[in-house]
């Protein structure tokens, strides 16, 4: 029953493969570009239909293009996800064993933290206990930089968080490895790391900051969407996050929306 793919779809997929992740506004521009390049019929707000055609063909290959939201700016992204990987092998082709171990340790720290972030000091300390091959302080910093450049981590003032790409592509892995630590956002049902939490111990639901901004927008007296207890956190301003449906607005935030060099271009 699935509709066949045309060259417009193939070009879209190729671009996804070389970029790993693209923002929703980039995806929209790319959709238009691919349709126009190959003389295909283009309908502006049918991006998800267009992607579904690709996903139908990717499914037997255990891959698909998935939408995710950045925990930091609330913007939507599309990433190519591999379902066969139960480990972080997605990264295996680009990093050495000890670099991968460092990534796992960083992820441990972030998932285990309340803030959904890990300080560079903590990561550097954990690098001392690498079993594969020790990394010097300078090397560790260099590798962390590479993780940020390749869009697996975000960094702000020495605090590292998992990027939207990482959360989208490694959701399966994270759910397997941290079954008790991983909670989902009560509003959008995606993995929640950087978020607010209900303080009712019997409830304790989590809500992403952009989701909280949206959810509590019009409420002067915010209550937990699950247990109805008072919501004790400061409600983030919507303006902090560009509106969800923002189209073709270049993001000014530090989240990686720019098409930086892809994994393809990494050389030793």
């Amino acid at each position: 029953m699935s509709r066949p793919m045309a060259d417009s779809h193939r070009r879209f997929l190729q671009t996804m493969m070389s970029n790993g992740i693209i923002s929703a506004s980039q995806a929209e521009a790319l959709h238009k570009h691919c349709c126009e390049t190959h003389g295909a019929h283009y309908v502006a707000d049918r991006l998800d239909d267009f992607i579904n055609v690709i996903n139908a063909q990717l499914q037997p290959l255990f891959m698909y293009i998935r939408k995710g939201m950045s925990e930091e700016n609330g913007l939507e992204y599309y990433a190519l996800v591999n379902m066969t990987e139960t480990d972080i092998t997605r990264m295996a082709s680009d990093y050495a064993d000890n670099e991968l171990e460092l990534f796992r340790k960083t992820m441990d720290l972030i998932v285990d933290s309340e803030s959904g972030s890990a300080s560079s000091t903590d990561i550097l300390n954990s690098a001392d206990s690498l079993r594969t091959k020790k990394l010097k302080k300078k090397e560790t910093e260099h590798v962390l930089n590479k993780f940020v450049q390749d869009k697996w981590l975000n960094e702000k003032d020495g605090e590292y968080t998992l990027s939207v790409r990482c959360v989208v592509e490694m959701e399966q892995y994270m759910r397997t490895i941290y079954p008790d630590l991983i909670k989902v956002c009560h509003v959008c049902h995606n993995i929640a790391l950087q978020c607010q939490m209900c303080e009712n111990p019997a409830c304790g639901i989590k809500v992403h900051l952009p989701c909280a901004a949206r959810y509590f927008r019009a409420r002067s007296d915010p209550h937990c969407p699950s247990c109805n207890d008072f919501w004790p956190h400061e409600i983030p301003e919507m303006q902090r996050f560009q509106s969800q449906s923002s189209q073709n607005l270049p993001s000014s935030s530090r989240e990686n929306t720019a098409p930086t060099t892809s994994r393809r271009s990494r050389r030793s």
């Binding site: 070009r11 997929l13 037997p60 066969t84």
Partner: protein
């Protein structure tokens, strides 16, 4: 073109080839001795779900190798992925090829029929001005494009010195470490050659030894000569048709079957 290629690779690495020969024969034998009844029995041994799964695994294996620009060898595919399904190799690889063409717009091409090495080639034409970069915004591609155009404009094969001199004019000195490319000479003679963008071959009977460059197989398949000619034309503000010979070659190659899009 293919004629020339054969003679070039034949003259290359004779000793290396000899040592590989016995290994290849073993592998070759295990492939050629498969009878059709064996294949038939193997087909019955596996469910279609199992075969689907194998096809997916081979596709992923090849994608990763391609991403790292590492050689894609039949021997590795068999050893790491196909394993017990070896009798069905042809069945599986045919479906893998179809998947690459239909889903990804890529073509799996055997570049070395003796050692069974493949590369993935893009079937879609490169397009300028993509809203999101296709296949990475790699400055090395620019370097490659310049070299390919120099080779092309000089008739398809040039001595290496000519390439280095052309690059020097663009302030890329192969003798110095470049900010963007690092070791330029290594990128050109090793990386581009490994990726099949360029051929870099010793000229026979030269003392001291001299090398020459040609287009590699990946370039032949992926780079549009007509577009390259337009680019060079723009650069020198000349009508591409004024280079009669190149223009003729470019138009015949581009209109021939290699760029069939479905």
């Amino acid at each position: 073109m293919s004629q020339r290629k054969k003679s070039v690779s034949a003259s290359q690495n004779k000793t290396q080839r000899r040592s590989q020969a016995s290994l290849n024969e073993d592998e070759e034998a295990s492939f050629s001795q498969v009878s059709s009844s064996q294949v038939q029995r193997a087909r019955e041994n596996f469910t279609s779900d199992q075969i689907d799964r194998k096809v997916a695994e081979v596709v992923q294996f090849i994608l990763i190798k391609d991403q790292k620009k590492m050689p894609i060898r039949r021997a590795d595919i068999v050893k790491h992925v196909i394993k017990d399904y070896k009798l069905l190799y042809t069945d599986i690889i045919n479906r893998v090829c179809r998947t690459f063409e239909q889903v990804f717009g890529l073509k799996l091409v055997e570049t070395d029929p003796k050692n069974h090495i493949y590369i993935l080639i893009n079937k879609l034409d490169p397009i300028q001005g993509e809203p999101v970069s296709m296949r990475s915004v790699n400055p090395k591609k620019g370097l490659l494009f310049v070299i390919l155009s120099v080779i092309f404009m000089k008739g398809g094969v040039i001595k290496e010195n000519l390439v280095w001199n052309s690059l020097k004019k663009l302030r890329v000195d192969p003798g110095e470490k470049h900010d963007e490319f690092g070791d330029v000479k290594k990128v050109v003679t090793d990386e581009f050659v490994r990726q099949k963008y360029l051929e870099y071959v010793k000229i026979p009977h030269t003392e001291p030894v001299e090398y020459e460059f040609r287009w590699g197989l990946r370039s032949e398949k992926e780079v549009s000569k007509l577009k390259m000619l337009e680019f060079v034309g723009e650069l020198f503000e000349q009508d591409p048709q004024s280079w009669t010979q190149q223009f003729r070659e470019a138009s015949t190659v581009d209109s021939s079957s290699q760029r069939t899009s479905s």
